[in-house]
Point group: C2
Chain length 371, copies 2
């Protein structure tokens, strides 16, 4: 049905895949978190016609179209599936709705009985339209462009499930984790199963790399960070790598500061996505064993013009000579001007970092095949 | 009128002051951010009688009483003035109100004209009741207990002033800083003046140590962190130290992760307050030049019992043999049980860390003078 990622890679090198595999690419590949979505007028048109968020997520043709929109316009090196981390919660049987302007609303999970009602068995049938979209995308994308699947990390999903909505500090979720660690561990265990399975299903449908989003990892104090972020994320990454060793796994433990070091020497982690607060010279020194990705401030992209140019060049300079994927430190903001996104992609794809051949094996460069 | 901090220190050593001066104290001193406030029934009684927050802040007798309440109950080693970082904004002429359950509401500052209307000249007369409270407290406190003054850092105050209210990401403030850096720099400059002046006035009234709260520093990406957090905070600390070299300055750049390293070698910074996410073995290694303070998770204190005991012992073990001040990683939460606070203070004051005399000069121990 579809060519395997490895096979496709033999045909034509993909800069994003090469960087994630630790190769120094002739130019830095770029994709942007939330590159498909609200800042694009063509997305807002689809949204006006299909206002239910999950309906957009579960209609393969819409997923394909929304995923391709930014790639068609800007020619990023990666196409991230249009979806949401909460489709997994929805598939498990958690009552969840995503409301425009308010974010996710979940029926809060407060006790063991609520946990019993969730089941990982529904996951693959419920999310079949998502996997169908991945299959369609794997066929539709130009060779140069890497198809990226993703999932929310167990802690971040659990945080929404317990809190019931987005929150500045997720006190309710953090309190349950402290007060009933056994119950919380069971929830996390279920989410490790579901998240791994969801990522593997995406890979089996044609995703060539996957990213695990632990958006709320930065709220966890040191020991809780180890228990609820690091170990579950590594458990997921290890399961995926055991089944699909050639598919790069990117981890995004947003806001964990010095905690990023915890992921630098893990064989199951190929890429580490940095939020905008991470000092890059520190990262260069301390996170040497892994391909870094990041970390332009989305507010800089919003400001645009000279601000984003200066920041882009600073980031490229700081990571020059290292396998590196350019990205934002967080998602594209809805008010962002698409022209700024275009200028950013062009700038990154034009600039070639100096190469230190003693340190890294350069990958072959792909010819320009922007769709 | 009142004895100078140095003079008082000759009479009887204060564990908190000694640790902040880099001495290894026979036991670890403790105080807690927001130790005076909403979790105490005697505070809630005062609040019921005086519902306007700023009225409580500007009535010296109430400030004294509220500041003393936790010290009287629990005998911490530090008494932090009951006040709010936004009194400075109020004194500058920013329209600000603090609403129960909602937090601060400020008339958003959007342009240069709004900035012109603010004036640092009003600061000392407007805040005279605060300084009067400090003078009364300096006389009222037992000798062992250190009186701590504080102020919000320029970035955190500016964030509230531009945003108009508390926020998860302070996009409006961060966007103004990117889009109109000259205007933002003028606001920050005014706040450097006001914050330094406010801290010096507290010291001149009897505060023996001061803390600068940069609660929203963790939102700033790398270069903005340097410009809007590090440099303004150091400017404030340096002005204070130039006038009052013997008074320790504690900096709390909450959530800055690896950015904490930026403050480790600064002569004007005596203490560095760690939020709960900072890994302590990393901090021990990377932040060696400064007295550390922190970093118990307020949610652990809320959970109480064995959770808080285990976390407390872990923190004390990790920082043993170093000048160290026990504190929370953020403020006491309103739902916290006062009995848990009592147990925590007793546990920390009872436990003596092993001493490594080769590394540090131990300070004399104060006799027990709990009020």
């Amino acid at each position: 049905l579809h060519k395997s990622p490895d096979h496709r890679n033999l045909v034509l090198p993909k800069p994003l895949l090469a960087a994630l595999r630790g190769e120094l690419t002739p130019r830095v590949p770029i994709w942007l978190m939330r590159q498909a979505g609200r800042y694009l007028p063509e997305y807002r048109e689809i949204r006006a016609r299909t206002p239910r968020f999950f309906e957009r997520c579960y209609t393969p043709e819409l997923v394909v179209e929304i995923t391709l929109q930014p790639v068609r316009r800007f020619g990023m090196d990666g196409a991230i599936l249009f979806s949401d981390i909460l489709v997994v919660v929805d598939a498990l049987g958690g009552e969840v709705e995503i409301l425009e302007g308010r974010g996710p609303v979940v029926e809060p999970l407060a006790d063991a009985r609520a946990l019993e009602r969730l089941s990982a068995e529904r996951l693959r049938p419920h999310l079949e339209p998502v996997y169908e979209a991945v299959r369609l995308l794997a066929r539709a994308l130009p060779e140069r462009i890497t198809l990226i699947g993703f999932a929310g990390a167990p802690w971040t999903l659990a945080a929404y499930m317990v809190e019931g909505e987005t929150s500045r500090d997720f006190h309710r979720a953090r309190r349950l984790a402290r007060a009933e660690p056994d119950l919380f561990a069971r929830l996390i265990g279920l989410l490790i199963d579901a998240t791994s399975d969801h990522l593997m299903a995406q890979i089996e449908a044609g995703a060539e790399a996957v990213q695990i989003f632990d958006s709320w990892a930065g709220l966890l104090p040191e020991t809780e960070f180890e228990r609820w972020c690091v170990r579950p994320v590594l458990a997921v990454a290890e399961r995926v790598k055991a089944r699909h060793p050639a598919v790069p796994v990117i981890v995004f433990p947003r806001g964990v500061g010095a905690g990023y070091r915890r992921f630098r020497d893990e064989p199951a982690v190929d890429g580490l996505s940095l939020d905008a607060t991470v000092p890059l010279l520190w990262a260069r020194e301390e996170l040497a064993g892994v391909c870094l990705q990041g970390n332009l401030d989305p507010i800089a992209l919003l400001a645009g013009g000279a601000v984003v140019e200066r920041e882009t060049d600073r980031i490229l300079d700081a990571l020059a000579g290292r396998p590196f994927v350019f990205n934002l430190g967080h998602g594209v903001l809805p008010e962002t001007d698409p022209a700024e996104v275009q200028a950013l992609v062009e700038r990154v794809q034009r600039l070639r970092p100096p190469i230190d051949p003693a340190r890294h094996r350069p990958a072959g460069e792909a010819p320009d095949d922007r769709p």
